[in-house]
């Protein structure tokens, strides 16, 4: 249990708890630390691990290929997520464990006048830009979907905010002289499929998006080289868009003269083309489109779920918010289930696409309990919904978050 500001936070750490799941298979070593996310209906216990290179303590979702979630208290420590606590998500298990920076090349080819094979030195010699941006898995918070859906069963920690330093994708494409009538730009990383004939993880952006001057190729993350598992030596940064497009270990850029119809664009990472990408469980007949822009979110970081406090005590709340595909306009809290909202104080903006700190103070009731909700409205006027969305992929959750404060 942790205590912040007089709260007793009921973060459900199950250190040295026994069972990994309620099965007879109990794979965790005796004494291993676990955490309860907690996911409705379970299984909700996860091991905490420090076994991955360049990574501190992470929530182990899957060893191979690695899925590592950021423990939520990390987000309380600052507006930027440390590289060694930043979440990790790979699709295929053939991931290079060594990268020779002198031999590494980034290919630029396809519908271009001048195909390129760039060294890291050549890339780093190009005009340099930097930007704070949130990198969030499309399926962040999937484990909270009700009814539950199969997939990576994340809590809320498949996201992070970093300062990315690198070059504009536009500058790289201009150097290769993109031909007229180009449609999309496809990214390939160094990771490869385990099985023969399976689809390599390839993602594409429309040509105008790729050339908008914001999409980057980053070689530094929070001022340091990227950890291997976050895409060393270079990765794509697509500000405001879900992480599926942020190709790690970027090795190849292909300019396409038609829309990419590879599996990962045509059949995977699709969302219902409906408000909040939401449908009813079992619903069919709706149009689907590739997942794209992020939506606003806000989180409590000093309390998770449930906290107890003394009667009439000072009750400070704080957290992080982000606008999704634009900046944060407002963060508000409600003590009456969303009927009325009061503005929270906002920390400084460190870039429209990054996290913004927020804080809110109230007084605990003399007895009983109070539910506190937090809502972000972004610069485009889009606010988080009070009701959770649902889709079969478990994508784009951004419901208003709530914590319960109990007087004891």
């Amino acid at each position: 249990m942790h205590s912040w500001n007089g709260f007793t936070d009921r973060r459900r750490f199950l250190r040295a708890a026994a069972a990994f799941t309620a099965t007879a298979f109990a794979p965790t070593a005796e004494g291993a630390a676990t955490i309860d996310l907690p996911l409705p209906g379970g299984p909700s216990a996860r091991a905490l691990t420090t076994a991955f290179p360049q990574k501190g303590e992470m929530i182990l979702q899957r060893t191979r290929p690695p899925l590592l979630e950021t423990p939520f208290e990390v987000f309380d420590e600052g507006v930027f997520t440390p590289n060694d606590r930043f979440f990790v998500r790979w699709h295929w298990a053939v991931i290079p464990e060594s990268v020779d920076v002198s031999r590494f090349r980034l290919g630029v080819r396809g519908n271009v006048e001048t195909p390129l094979s760039l060294t890291l030195e050549e890339i780093m010699a190009m005009p340099r830009v930097e930007m704070a941006a949130v990198n969030q898995c499309s399926g962040n918070s999937r484990g909270f979907f009700t009814p539950r859906v199969p997939g990576g069963e994340w809590g809320n920690g498949a996201m992070g905010n970093a300062i990315w330093t690198g070059v504009r994708l536009k500058d790289v494409l201009d150097r290769a002289r993109v031909k007229a009538a180009s449609v999309q730009v496809r990214f390939t990383g160094l990771d490869e499929t385990v099985t023969e004939g399976a689809p390599r993880f390839l993602k594409s952006l429309d040509i105008d998006h790729a050339r908008d001057g914001e999409v980057m190729i980053a070689y530094l993350m929070n001022g340091q080289p990227l950890p291997l598992l976050n895409g060393f030596p270079i990765r794509v940064i697509v500000p405001g868009w879900y992480s599926t497009y942020w190709t790690k270990m970027l090795s190849d850029i292909e300019v396409l003269d038609k829309a990419d119809d590879n599996f990962w664009m045509k059949s995977a990472y699709l969302i219902p083309d409906t408000p909040h990408a939401s449908v009813k469980p079992g619903e069919t007949g709706f149009k689907s489109v590739p997942i794209n822009r992020m939506v606003p979110r806000s989180f409590f970081t000093n309390i998770e779920g449930l906290a107890s406090t003394a009667p009439s005590a000072h009750a400070p709340f704080r957290g992080v918010a982000f606008g999704g595909d634009c900046g944060v306009a407002a963060v508000e809290c409600s003590l009456d289930g969303g009927a009325t909202w009061t503005a929270a104080a906002l920390g400084p903006e460190r870039g429209a696409y990054g996290f913004r700190r927020w804080s809110f103070e109230t007084t605990a009731p003399a007895a009983g309990a109070v539910e506190v909700a937090v809502r972000c409205t972004n610069a485009k006027g889009v606010a988080q919904p009070l009701e959770a969305n649902w889709n079969a992929g478990g994508y784009m959750r951004n419901v208003v978050e709530r914590v319960r404060l109990v007087v004891q």
Binding site: A125, R148, P150, A198
Partner: protein
Amino acid sequence: MRVSRGIRALGAVALLAVAPAFAEKLSSLNLHLPQDDEEFVGAGADTVNSACRACHSIEMVLTQPKLSASVWTAEVNKMRKIFKAPIDDADVAPIVDYLVRLQAGS
């Protein structure tokens, strides 16, 4: 997007075609990812191990919410048809049966 302070300052001095001053040296990496050695056990586990563990460690299965046999069947078929997991036609039903039993704790 913000141009970093370094390039602004230097840009005022001269328009350099190359700017090696900015090129922090990246060092080669040679690391090791942890191996997974946990296996499914019990009746029918051999087929499940060769099918599922070909591509991923067992937590992928153990972390799933309780899924119906039809949802498990769709998952196994996706692994087989799209991701080319080494699964024979005849093994789909026994694998699904194992997964359902696993989640039932029986």
